[in-house]
């Protein structure tokens, strides 16, 4: 692989790293919405008649989503990395 090819590959990988990081950070700081008064307070809604509300689902969803994001990240790198990842 030539120098320019390697650098192009690294730039693509860096873009992907930053994209995954930005998605993570966006979701992470969206958690603050739980403490922001909004017009509809969707996170305060409950699931039917249960005690499970949007805030609790948000927390659980974030944990699971982050793990799935990591799996996706590792999968993409395995597929695009040509065995180098």
């Amino acid at each position: 692989m030539s120098d320019s090819d390697k650098l192009a590959a690294i730039r693509a990988k860096t873009r992907m790293r930053l994209l995954f990081a930005l998605v993570t950070l966006g979701c992470y700081f969206a958690f603050v919405l739980n403490w922001v008064d909004g017009p509809d307070r969707a996170l305060a809604q409950t699931l039917g008649d249960s005690h499970i509300n949007g805030s609790l689902l948000f927390f659980v969803g974030l944990i699971i989503s982050f793990i799935l994001l990591e799996l996706l990240f590792l999968f993409i790198y395995r597929v695009t990395g040509g065995g180098r990842e």
Binding site: K6, L18, F20, V32, H51, I52, I63
Partner: protein, 561 residues
């Protein structure tokens, strides 16, 4: 009722300060004060002795395999990704995480989950941004990474300073919390508890180095997750294996009722929540003893696996804490046996998880969880000690004083000596700070790591324009501003110095100090016209190639220096 629950007072909140945001701690109660010794729980003692015997055996085994500095610092780089991920989880799932978060949910319901999210979310970012590049560029510590590109001596001295500050502060908070915790759980005098922790950790680390430390952390992680799983399963059994019943029971029994299921009981200010989230996230990414674990694996593939497995285990752990936390609300509030005549939880809110174990599993589970909590402290302190020893013997002695060519035998000797010194320092500081309010000490490591270590590490990996001068000024700005704002904040200005109102309203200033460090680094770097600055910028491409392809892929002729 177990012996554990017979006597205690509310002075146990120091534990919460070990690694939790002080806002939580202060919401929960006083952080200083005496802790009444507990009656001995024989089950806890037996289980703890079994743990100590097993880990000392491992230390003996590891000592026969620790022959060089590389063995000592990074276990010879032969830990697998799964093992290392478990050890990272063991390093990070502290007693404060387990007892503190459960106690916060017991106290304030949903708001207690802020810390759980903050502690967990650093791991995806570690995988996406740091794991591979740090592993490929460093050898023993994160200081190796930043000094690859920048002027070695100056940036090493700054990074070593950041590491030592973080390790010592973290160590003080751990030792004070450990002393109080062991005093409460096992009935040992405070000084004996602190000295016992130090002796055991020194035995692990001095003889077995990172290999013994890793296995102590692995065993502890497995035991902690087993204990949490058993407790959670028993809680679910009590709620008919229904989350709905669990939440309904918690809301019905908690004095605040249904509101504990929603945000707003402990925190109302979104900025306050944001300051905690920023500090927890970026502080974790700058903790030297966590970053050091990336070098214990053979290559970048295993480093990435480590980060993923650590996420997996911690995700499971924090999800299980939801069940434990709301389980405490469901099962403890309606049982007067767990409360003092004044109506407070015996031993303080941090004892909620242990009381829950008593409620669902009797003395056997209580003893097991108490022993696991002690093991947790040992594992965390061991990791800190290795990191501190490496900062002195490797980063300072081998790389700065010996210019990267130390006598290997002397370096290993110095490492072991440094370990002993750190152990003594930990005991002395632990005893000196026994009755101090350590909330601000517990705050500083995370904020300093977020404001000093993380910006330098991140920019050295991702920004071509970084120069040595910019990194040093940025690190100093982060250090001075974070320490200064903590001093004028509520924890020191009001709680320690006695003023009525803080000059700065938040306990965790990283939301402000991290951007400040980044801006100062950027400004000084872009205006740096020195010859060294040119070299630093030119070094970026060579290091970029190496960070992605490893040392074996570094055949490019891009770098001029």
């Amino acid at each position: 009722m177990s012996a554990l629950t017979r006597t205690a007072n509310s002075g146990f909140f120091t534990l919460l300060a070990i690694s939790l945001p002080a806002g939580f701690a202060l919401a929960a109660g006083d952080l200083s004060g005496e802790v009444e010794r507990q009656a001995v729980n024989p089950v806890a003692i037996v289980m703890f002795l079994l743990f100590v015997a097993a880990t000392l055996g491992i230390s003996y085994w590891a000592s026969r395999r620790t022959q060089s500095s590389k063995d000592f610092y990074t276990a010879g780089g032969q830990i697998t990704g799964l093992q290392n991920g478990t050890a990272i989880a063991g390093d990070f799932m502290s007693a404060a995480s387990f007892l503190g978060i459960t106690g916060l949910i017991f106290l304030g319901g949903f708001d207690g989950l802020v810390l759980a999210l903050g502690a967990f979310s650093a791991w995806p970012l570690l995988l996406f941004l740091l794991a591979k590049r740090v592993r490929n560029l460093g050898s023993f510590t994160f200081v190796d990474v930043v000094s690859q590109r920048l002027e070695r001596t100056r940036i090493r001295l700054v990074a070593i300073g950041g590491t030592i500050v973080v390790v010592i502060l973290y160590l003080i908070a751990q030792m004070v919390g450990a002393g109080k915790l062991i005093q409460l759980l096992f009935g040992l005098p405070y000084e004996v508890a602190v000295i016992s922790v130090s002796i055991l950790v020194l035995t692990y680390v001095t003889f077995g180095g990172m290999l013994a430390t890793t296995w102590v952390q692995i065993i502890k992680a497995v035991l902690l997750m087993a204990g949490v799983t058993i407790t959670a399963a028993l809680v679910l059994y009590h709620s008919g294996f229904s989350i709905e019943n669990l939440l309904a029971g918690a809301a019905a029994n908690h004095p605040r009722g249904d509101v504990i299921l929603s945000p707003g009981v402990l925190f109302q200010d979104p900025v306050q929540v944001t300051t905690i989230l920023v500090s927890m996230l970026f502080g974790t990414l700058g903790l030297p003893h966590i970053l050091m674990r990336l070098f214990t694996v053979p290559d970048m593939h295993e480093a990435k696996k480590s980060a993923f497995y650590a996420s997996l285990f911690m995700g499971y752990f924090y999800l299980a804490l939801i069940i434990l936390g709301f389980g405490t609300a469901m099962l403890l509030y309606n049982n007067p046996a767990f409360f003092t005549p004044e109506g407070t939880l015996i031993g303080g809110n941090n004892m909620a998880a242990i009381h829950l174990a008593t409620a669902v599993g009797g003395d056997l589970l209580t003893g097991f969880m108490s022993a696991v909590t002690f093991a947790t402290i040992l594992a965390v302190v061991a990791g800190l000690t290795v990191s501190g020893a490496a900062a002195i013997s490797h980063d300072l002695y081998a790389e700065v004083i010996c210019k990267g060519a130390p006598d290997s035998h002397k370096e290993l000797q110095l490492t072991r000596l440094t370990t002993l010194v750190i152990g003594v320092i930990a005991v002395v500081l632990g005893i000196l700070f026994e009755n101090e309010n350590v909330a601000f000490i517990a705050t500083m490591p995370m904020v300093v790591a977020a404001s000093v270590n993380f910006p330098v590490l991140f920019l050295s990996l991702f920004w071509p324009g970084l120069t040595t001068r910019g990194a040093i000024w940025g690190a100093l700005a982060g250090l001075v501003s974070s320490v200064g704002l903590i001093i004028v904040g509520p924890q020191v200005w009001v709680s320690v110095l006695g003023f009525e109102e803080p000059l700065f309203p938040y306990n965790y200033p990283a939301l402000f100090t991290l951007p400040l460090a980044l801006v100062v680094t950027w400004l000084v770097s872009v205006t740096d016209r020195s010859a060294r600055g040119e070299i630093d910028r030119d070094n970026y491409l060579r290091l970029l190639i190496r960070s992605e392809y490893g040392p074996e892929g570094e055949e490019l002729e891009i770098a001029r220096h």
